[in-house]
Symmetry: C2
Subunit: 327 residues, 2 copies
DNA sequence: CTGTTAGCGCGTTCAC
DNA sequence: GTGAACGCGCTAACAG
């Protein structure tokens, strides 16, 4: 940068201003600087800039996994939005426990990110302390918590599940199973189980522990679930899967076993992943607009980083029941 | 850090050493420092450290998209490996052209990443210049290029496709279509088309332009492809899809249309995604170990960053033809 | 609109 | 095994 300044016959600070806000320097000067930058092949160093301005351009996203297509979609939306504002995206993997998230955040904060996107639905005291101490804004995306750390954009897993179970009841199904990925302290499964139980209670049905099944989030997991459930409890006539991947896996198993869907068993999913529309029969599911969650989460962070105030810090993007042939 | 040093009765530099390499300070001193760190709630700042040591802990991965499950798997493996060495992962989105990649890299280098993982198969001159000027090591993962920029871990898209087409020929299929995502200057589609054509040539079959079809990488894209191909060219009796997502979408379309697979048309995929094994019939496909590519790419970068020399800079992880019921 | 001065929080280099 | 001085590349704050 020194080099550039000399060539352009200005002070370093003027070059710095040109790099950050080209409009703040006179157009003649700007032109000289531009030329000098090209001659020297200057590549700015935002790290050094961040150190001196105490402001980094990095946003950290902490997710349980990125191989889940739904999270990948959200992450992608976050990324696109950040990119438009010259921000960078750094990844963190938080597993399913508070301790894991704390550990990841402890290492991430050493990079002094400008903001955090957190997908976990709960956080340790130490996590909260670190974010507070450093004054780093955050957006939570996993569920619409009553009291977010800072900001939140999501939907209610509880309501969404309840709505789906009510739909299955209305369609006349009597014995409804609930299948999900393993329950973890920090994931949304707990809220979904709550929704399932609440719906059954509201229509006066008993809660049968055997109808609740945890399995890995994969096609195979869904297939195993439906096979096991129907073997142990043949009276089951509908199953809700907390993820279309699970539901599709179950559907494939039904095809292999020649169990009619929804004749023998109705199948409902969650997420409205592409496959839910494309598989045969198409799956009833819940649409959650992950892209919108990602986009708005990024927007809120960006606003905050610009120093603007964010009026709505707890945004509900809602969900939508999508009825298709599988139920 | 000053604070911590005072409390522990040592100089800042000793604290610094403790943070980076706890073993280099005497155990008694270390204990005092540890205590002081906890008391103060000190959070190290690797940004500042990087500025002074001219070494960052960030690795940038530049991919065309992360919503592709295959890339997500690779990315996840990269991430896990980096995490073990205290490195961070930053994302970049390179689209399909050299210019897009150049632009993304131009902005990413401002964060002075310690290394790059590049999935594109070609790069602009300026991209090469930037990486060279800054001396940033890189690993390419998109294809096994003859002359990588620096290091490369991948497989041959050309060979893999050729192997698959030969398999279809051996199984007796006569009119074989090729379906892929849109060809872009920097993606692997070109290599796969080359493999398709080479295989047909080797067995003395004509190359019919109508049999080559580009479609968006989605279930819907695969469904549209098979529907259009069979309408316009009913003689087609097998189709290779450059992605299991496409192949599965085509399979779903066949189920809707009651076209027997492989009776009416054989379907082959690429990637050995979970769905290929689970759908009915299971899909013949090519297994590419994305996790291994990601893991080894990260390993090579880590070695390089440690100052160790990397003997094998061009690693072929190979591929494997998986024959299943769909062909 | 542009320049000067001071310092961000560390690590490097040498010394002890 | 530990410490002091200096500087990494840039920007805040103020002045002109």
């Amino acid at each position: 940068m020194e080099d550039v300044a000399r060539r352009a016959g200005v002070a370093k600070i003027t070059v710095s201003r040109y790099v950050r806000e080209p409009k703040t320097v006179a157009s003649k000067t700007a032109l000289r600087i531009k030329k000098a930058i090209q001659e020297v092949g200057y590549i700015p160093n935002f790290i050094a800039g961040g150190l001196s301005s105490n402001r980094s351009r990095i946003v950290a996203a902490v997710m349980p996994t990125i191989t889940n297509p739904m999270l990948a979609r959200m992450l992608s939306a976050i990324f696109d939005e950040l990119q438009g504002s010259g921000l960078y995206l750094m990844l963190g993997n938080c597993g399913g426990t508070l301790a894991e998230e704390e550990e990841v955040i402890r290492t991430l904060v050493a990079q002094r990110p400008a903001g955090f996107v957190l997908h976990a639905v709960r956080h340790s005291m130490e996590t909260k302390r670190m974010l507070k101490t450093l004054g780093i804004p955050s957006v939570e995306t996993g569920d619409l918590l009553a009291e977010p750390l800072d900001m939140a954009v999501s939907y209610s897993n509880y309501d969404a599940t309840k709505t789906m179970i009510h739909h299955l009841c209305k369609r006349g199904y009597q014995k409804i199973a609930f299948v999900s990925m393993p329950l973890q302290p920090a994931n949304q499964v707990g809220e979904r189980v709550r929704g399932y139980k609440a719906a059954l209670k509201e229509v006066g049905r008993p809660i049968v522990p055997d109808y609740i099944y945890e399995t890995p989030l994969s096609f195979r997991g869904g297939a195993d679930a439906i096979a096991n459930l129907l073997e142990r409890r043949p009276e089951i006539d509908a199953a809700f899967f907390a993820g279309d991947i699970l539901a599709a896996g179950a559907l494939f198993e039904c095809q292999r076993q020649n169990w009619a869907v929804p004749g023998r068993v109705a199948i409902a999913g969650f997420d409205n992943y592409d496959i839910a529309l494309q598989c045969v029969p198409a799956l009833t599911t819940v649409d959650v607009r992950r892209e919108e969650i990602g986009r708005r989460a990024a927007e809120m962070l960006i606003k905050r980083l610009r120093g603007e105030s964010v009026e709505e810090t707890r945004v509900n993007v809602g969900f939508q029941l999508i009825e298709r042939a599988s139920t």
